[in-house]
Amino acid sequence: MKIKIIEKKNIKDLLKEAAAEWNVYAPQRNLGGDVWFEALSKPGTDLDKALESVVLEGPDTVISAKDIFFPQLETLFSFNDGKIHEKIESSPKLLFGVRPCDLKGILFADAFFKRNLEDKYYLSRVENRFIVVIGCLKPPRSSCFCTSAMTGPFAKEGFDLQLVEYKDLYLVETGSQSGEEFILKFKKYFKDCPCDFEKTVDEVKSRAAGSVELKVDFQKALELMGQESFIPEENYKRIGERCIYCGGCLYACPTCTCFNVFDNSKDKSGERMRNWDGCVYEGYTRETSGHNPRKDKWQRASRRYEHKLKYDYKQAGSSGCVGCGRCLTSCPVDIGMSKFIQEITEKRKIM
């Protein structure tokens, strides 16, 4: 489909109209000043007010949009006197303003939750979704390294629509059948280009790519980590000593999907729930007997880096790191994937 255009000033009207059909999610600035990917319509909030807080350019969301499909805390089912009530959520969702790296994270999680035995909770949540990606003209974080991870600053596939910011317009690329249908449905907002914008899109994209300053040798890192004999134990040990095990990097990571399952109950009724968990925590592998196969800090550091760069790549064909740089920005002690990659590929000590 040919590139369409939409005027920036019309976006909020489009979102408002779409909200009648979808649960619309978009980056919004909250009271504290941070930007979070949140639903526009929430109980007790006014849609117009929510629209005012939408931020489509500049800062990116603190964590990726993964929690829309894989909430930090969710109920699997409730039980009452032995009877089970399944809680499945499958509302239509429109995600507006997903960054390309986070799209990659979502696609990665989709494949993961489909692998082996299917996870009905995740797969029901993604069943009826529409994703509008906004490419990054400038990296929202100084720690972004999407051009090295080849995940941005614009997406190549997997989106329904992708917006390319250009002056007071967005140039709109269509990536799926549903994307085409969406444009037809809301045709009053999407105009034909008055001139040939193909070249402009290419120029904008290549300028955007040039603005990503942080560059790491991602491919070399994957090659190194793919070698069985390559075990940078000294790096793991330093990271293991330095890490304060807060888990910030895991929660902010678009591809981290580990969870804990527990019951929350009173008397004979309650809920079985799951919440995010993470491999850096000591209790993550601790068995009832007290035996812990990953009791040393460096073993847990090694687990995290090897999972992302070695095993994910081996199993899924794509790395578990999308180059968003959130692990570094969220880390109180300045540890991050890009630094780890620099250390192993450039053989220097920077952490």
Partner: protein
């Protein structure tokens, strides 16, 4: 799409005490159709729930060759297993599964089998042991080498007596701390090498026990000439979902819950041991 997280009610039909902290629960699915159609393989496990306490992965200790009921041998160790121990005949628990791969069976036919277990590690092996005994003539010589801390902590005491009497079958026991009248060996399970000849010819060894025991038994089997492929074990790991999602049992690229729990030593050797296999 099946919701793998939803468990099904099962009624406890019998509770047998094995040791001071271990009981065997015989259960049957409440739903008659499910009870009739349910299938599992030797070595698989299920997630056993007590609502309000949570769920725990427990190996099925009964055998697919003995139909209509399921047995779980459970040591009261954590909050879930302790609350299972408080349940009585007629009470209900919830099950989902079965999960994981299985011990080989057809491949073992015509072979000598060494079952080597420590403590409650005999529970997952028992599923295969009874299955093998149910078609005894298909297998050659069978030896069980079983160790526990004390004589009291040996599980399945009645069955140990029964198994001993099966033709061409040996049962060797050892304990760390004997009591008066203990007539068998004292010491770790590898001490049993002194009692009976362990020979790798046409043989497969099948192991389960605490990590430290597994390490030493594998060393001893290798010394005796066993090939890596002929040493088969079931691994345990802290586990939540049982379906390869929660990540807890992940070692390298393998999930113990879906790629295992049964591995041969050739596969185990390829796991990244720095992530703590045992």
């Amino acid at each position: 799409m099946k919701n793998e997280y939803i468990p099904f009610p099962a009624v406890i039909e019998d509770v047998r005490r094995e040791t001071f902290d271990t009981k065997t629960f015989r259960v049957r699915f409440q739903d008659k159709e499910l009870a009739g159609s349910f299938k599992y393989k030797q070595g698989q496990f299920m997630e056993v729930s007590v609502f309000g306490k949570g769920e725990a992965p427990i190996s099925i200790t009964s055998s697919p060759s003995r139909k209509d009921f399921l047995e779980f041998t459970i040591r009261a160790a954590g909050s879930v297993t302790k609350s299972i121990h408080n349940l009585k005949k007629g009470d209900c628990l919830h099950l989902r599964g079965p999960y994981g791969n299985a011990f080989p069976f057809e491949e073992l036919k015509g072979k000598n089998i060494y079952f080597i277990a420590g403590g409650i590690g005999l529970a997952p092996l028992r599923s295969l042991i009874n299955m093998v005994f149910d078609s005894r003539k298909d297998f050659r010589h069978i030896k069980l080498l079983y160790g526990a801390k004390t004589p009291d902590e040996l599980c399945f005491k009645n069955e140990l007596e029964t198994w001993k009497k099966i033709p061409d079958t040996e049962v060797w026991l050892t304990v760390d701390k004997p009591c008066d009248g203990w007539g068998c060996r004292v010491g770790v399970v590898t001490e049993l090498w002194k009692d009976t000849h362990i020979h790798p010819d046409n043989a497969t060894a099948i192991l389960c026990g605490p990590p430290i025991m597994m390490k030493f038994v594998i060393m001893k089997l290798a010394e005796s000439g066993f090939k890596d492929k002929d040493i088969i074990m079931t691994l345990e790991r802290y586990m939540k979902c049982g379906i390869g999602k929660c990540g807890h049992c992940n070692i390298g690229e393998k999930f113990i819950c879906v790629d295992g729990p049964v591995f041969d030593y050739e596969q185990v050797k390829q796991l990244p041991h720095k992530e703590g296999v045992f």
